[in-house]
Amino acid sequence: MGRGGEFAEVFVEDRSTSSAMLDQRRVEELSSGRDRGAGIRVVVGDTTGFAHTADLSERGLLAAAQAAATVARKGGGGVREIALGPLTNHPSVATMLPKDVDKARKIELMNLADDAARSEGSSITQVSVALGDSSRRFVVANSEGVFAADHQVRTRFNVTCIAKGDGGMQTGYRPIAGTRGFELLSGEAVAEAARGAARQAITKLDARPAPSGDLPVVLAGGSGGILFHEACGHGLEADAILKQASVYAGKVGQLVASPLVTLVDDGTVEGEWGYLALDDEGRPGARNVLIENGVLTDYMWDYLRSRKEGRLSSGNGRRQSYQHLPMVRMTNTYLLAGESDADEIVAQTPYGVYVAQLGGGQVNTATGDFVFGMTAAFMIEDGKITAPLRDCNLIGNGPDVLQRVDAVATDFSMTPGTCGKNGQSVPVGCGQATMRLTGVTIGGAAV
C-alpha cells in the first residue's frame, strides 16, 4: 500500500498437478507439474492494476506490487498500516492426498476401465482413459483485513470410447470428478463409467440425424443442469449485470422463469466439483438462491462488483490461477428437485427428444441466446424412448426457455464440468432432476 491504492490484495498460490493417460492399452505418459507464484491487485477508483510473479522473494513481490500500483499514478500516497487478523485456515477435506497415491495404483484403475469398456462389445475400437489430480493451496490477504488460506484437492477420471460401425465412428464419454482425493475413485466406479461410455458409443452407431425445429425436450437428471448454467447462470453474474450486458439486468423481484424453477448456486456442496471452502478472494463459499419459484432473487457477486453496490460478495470471486484476475464465476449451480416422476414425464410426452447427456454449451449474455450440445439423445414417440440420435446443439433464448419448464422430477443428480469465461477455466458443477421443456430448437441435420 505504499502508493495509496484504495484496495490491495496479495494472492499466493502453490499448485501441484499430475496426470496420466492410457490410450489403446498403453500407458502413454505420466506428467507432474508444479506452479507457485503470487498475483497482486491494486484498485484505485474503478481501475484495477494487476501483476503476477513466480518470484516469491521479497524483491519479486515488491516489484510486482509496484507494477500493479503504477496504474494508480497518484504517486506520493502515504503508507497505510493494515491490521490482519489471525489466519483463517481451511484444510482439505480429502482423505487420500494425491502425493500419497501410488502411481502403480492409478495405472491399475485405468487398465481396469479399459477392460470394462472393451467388454461391452467388439465394436469398441478405441478407449482412452485420463486420470488427473491437483492439490492447490493458496493464501489471500487484502487491505480490508482478510487473511485466509484454503487447500483444494481435486481428482478427475475420464473415459472416452470410440465405436466403429458400417456408418462410421461414434463417441461415448463419462467423467468422474470431485473436490476430493483419490478416495473418489473405486474399481467399481471407474468400471461403471467405462461401461457407460462404451454403451453410449455403441448405441450411437445406429443413430439417425437429429430432427430440426422446435420440439418438446426431456432432459435426464445430471448433465441437463448445463441448460441453466448457460440459459441464465452466466447472465446472473454481476459483472455482466453492472455493465448492462445481460438480459437479466434490472429484473430482481420479477418472474423470469416457470414457477417450477428454483435455481441455486452453492459452493458449499462438499466434495462436488465446484465446491470451495473459500473463494479466490478469501470469502467463504456460500449457498445463494438465484431464482425462487420462478422469481429472480439475486445475482452472483465478487468483491469488486459487490463493493460498487455497497454489499458483500456472495463468495463467487474465482480465478484460474495466481496469473489471473478474479471475476464473478459460478460454483455448483443446480435446479432444486420437483415432485414429478421421471418415467411419468417421458410417458406423458407424445413426441419429442430425450436427452440423456449434455456435452457443454455457450451463451451470449447480452442477447440471451444460448446453445447446449447433446451427446446422447433419443426420440420420444408415443411416450416411449425410441431411436438414438446423432450429436447436435440445441439453441434457445434464456428468458424464453426458462418459462418453458413444465415438469421437474425427483431424481436429482449432479455432473462436473469446466466453465470457460474470458480465457479462464474453473471447475464447476451442474445439477438437476429429469425435467421437460415444452419446446426448444433442436439443431439437427434432418430438415
Partner: protein, 451 residues
C-alpha cells in the same frame, strides 16, 4: 534468447546413463489493457517463465517417456521437475514408437516474427489505443448502447527446445491485438458484434477498422428474427470459415489418424472435398500470425499440402505419430505451453483463395444464409463422427443481396459432407490470430434449424 538456450543446454548436463532428456523453456511478457467508460478498467503487466522436461528411458520392449513441468526456472524447481519426469517414465508402457525428435536435415526458413514495437511502445500509448477504440465504437453510431469491453493486448514470447538427441532450437515472437464487443439497441432488442485487429506490433493495428467492424456487425443484426427450418446454401464469412478450417485441421492430424479418431484415416488419394478446395498448413508463410520457424520438438517448420484440389494428400505428423504411421515427422509438433507434451497438429492453415469476391459469391448463391458468428462450436461439433451443428447469427441472402438478419438458429451437416459441398471459395483471404486464416466460403445442403 541465447540465455534460454544456454540455460536449457546446462540442464541437459544432468543426463544419466542411456536416458535421453528434452528440455523446453519458455518465457514471456504480457500486457493487457481494458478500457471502460473512457478509463482503464484493468491493466495487467506480467512476465512468466516455465520449463517442460521429458525423460526417455530405453527398455527391452521399447522406450518409456515421463514428463514434468514447473512455472519457474529456479534451480530447485528444475531439479524437482527432472526427478519427477524420471520417476514418471518408469510407469509408462514400453513402446517401440516412442522417441524424441532428431535433426532431420530440413533447413529452417528464416522468418521475421518479432517487432521491437511491442517493447518500444509506451504503456501510455497502449492505454490510449484501448480508450480510443472504446470511444470510436461509442461515438460511431447512435444505436450503440454499450461497449462491454475494449481491449488492447500484446506479448513478447521466447522459447528454446534442446535435447540430448541433437535438437537445439529457439525462437521469438511478438504480437499485438485490439478487440471490442459492441452492444447495439434500437429500442427493442440488444444485438452484439465483435471487432478485432491483430499484428506483430502496435503500429500494425487498425483501431478504426476494429471499431467499425464491431459497429457494423452489431447494428446490422438489429431486428433479427428466427426463421422456420429450411435447407440452403450457407456462406461463411472469413472469420467463421477459419473456425471451420481449424476443425477440419484437427481431423488431418496424424495423431488423430493413428489413434483411430479421424474420419480421414485410410483415405489418402481419395476425393474428400470439392475440386476448388486446396488446404495447406504452412507455418513458413510469415503473413500468418501463427507462423513459426520451428515446431514444438525443434524441427524446422515446413509447408505441407493436405488437401489438393479436393484430393486428400497427407496428414501432419510429429515424431511419435509419424513412427506409428511408418513415416517421418512433417515438422508439425504442437504443444499447449510448458505443461503440454508435443502432439501432431496444424499450426498455420490456409485455403488457396478463389477468384470471387464476397459480393459476387452472394450474387451467384442467389438465396441462402450468410453466417457471421458461431456459438457452441465445442459442444456441437464431433470431430470423430464428423457431426456438425452450431448456433449462428447472420443475414439472409435474397436475390443475390444481403437481406434481413436472423438469430437463434443452428446450421448443421457433417464435416465430410460439407467439404464435398463447397461451391465457392472467396478471394478475400484474411489473416487472423488463430491456427487458420479464412476467406468467404459457400457450402450447399446445410440444414438451418429454426422454428
Amino acid at each position: 534468447m541465447s540465455d534460454l538456450i544456454e540455460r536449457a543446454v546446462r540442464i541437459l548436463e544432468s543426463v544419466k546413463g542411456s536416458e535421453e532428456i528434452e528440455v523446453y523453456l519458455a518465457s514471456g511478457v504480457d500486457t493487457e489493457v481494458q478500457s471502460y467508460q473512457g478509463e482503464i478498467e484493468e491493466l495487467t503487466n506480467a512476465t512468466s517463465t516455465g520449463i517442460g522436461i521429458r525423460v526417455l528411458r530405453d527398455g527391452t520392449g521399447g522406450a518409456q517417456v515421463g514428463t514434468a513441468w514447473a512455472g519457474s526456472l529456479d534451480d530447485a524447481a528444475v531439479r524437482d521437475a527432472l526427478r519427477e519426469a524420471r520417476d514418471n517414465a518408469r510407469f509408462a508402457t514400453e513402446d517401440e514408437f516412442i522417441a524424441f525428435a532428431r535433426p532431420d536435415g530440413v533447413p529452417a526458413v528464416a522468418l521475421e516474427l518479432t517487432d521491437p514495437g511491442v517493447a518500444n511502445t509506451s504503456l501510455d500509448d497502449k492505454i490510449a489505443m484501448a480508450i480510443e477504440l472504446e470511444r470510436l465504437v461509442r461515438s460511431g453510431d447512435p444505436r450503440i448502447r454499450q461497449v462491454d469491453s475494449a481491449n488492447y493486448s500484446d506479448y513478447v514470447a521466447e522459447a528454446a527446445i534442446v535435447s540430448t538427441t541433437g535438437i537445439k532450437a529457439s525462437y521469438a515472437r511478438t504480437g499485438a491485438y485490439v478487440s471490442v464487443e459492441a452492444i447495439a439497441n434500437d429500442g427493442s432488442d440488444d444485438q452484439t458484434g465483435w471487432g478485432l485487429s491483430a499484428g506483430r506490433s502496435p503500429s500494425d493495428l487498425d483501431v478504426a477498422k476494429a471499431a467499425s467492424d464491431a459497429i457494423r456487425r452489431a447494428t446490422r443484426m438489429l431486428g433479427a428474427v428466427k426463421p422456420a427450418s429450411f435447407k440452403t446454401t450457407a456462406v461463411f464469412d472469413p472469420r467463421t470459415a477459419a473456425t471451420l478450417f481449424a476443425i477440419i485441421g484437427g481431423a488431418l492430424s496424424g495423431e488423430a489418424v493413428v489413434r483411430g479418431r479421424s474420419f480421414f484415416a485410410n483415405r489418402v488419394g481419395e476425393m474428400v472435398a470439392a475440386p476448388n478446395f486446396t488446404l495447406l498448413d504452412d507455418p513458413t508463410d510469415s503473413r500468418h500470425f501463427a507462423a513459426s520457424v520451428f515446431d514444438a520438438e525443434g524441427l524446422a517448420c515446413r509447408r505441407n499440402v493436405l488437401i489438393e484440389m479436393g484430393q486428400l494428400k497427407a496428414f501432419v505428423y510429429d515424431t511419435v505419430s509419424a513412427r506409428r504411421a511408418g513415416t517421418a515427422s512433417t515438422g508439425s509438433a504442437v504443444r499447449g505451453g510448458i505443461a503440454g507434451s508435443p502432439s501432431a497438429g496444424c499450426r498455420a492453415l490456409q485455403l488457396i483463395p478463389g477468384e470471387l469476391d464476397q459480393a459476387e459469391i452472394f450474387r451467384r448463391v442467389g438465396n441462402g444464409i450468410f453466417v457471421e458468428s458461431l456459438i457452441g462450436v465445442h459442444s456441437g461439433v464431433n470431430p470423430v463422427s464428423g457431426d456438425f451443428s452450431v448456433g449462428v447469427t447472420g443475414l439472409m441472402i435474397r436475390d443475390g443481396q444481403l437481406a434481413e438478419p436472423v438469430r437463434e438458429i443452428t446450421v448443421a451437416s457433417t464435416l465430410q459432407r460439407m467439404l464435398l459441398d463447397v461451391v465457392y471459395v472467396g478471394s478475400d483471404l484474411e489473416w487472423l490470430p488463430s491456427s487458420a486464416a479464412g476467406q468467404t466460403v459457400a457450402i450447399e445442403n446445410i440444414a438451418v434449424s429454426g422454428t
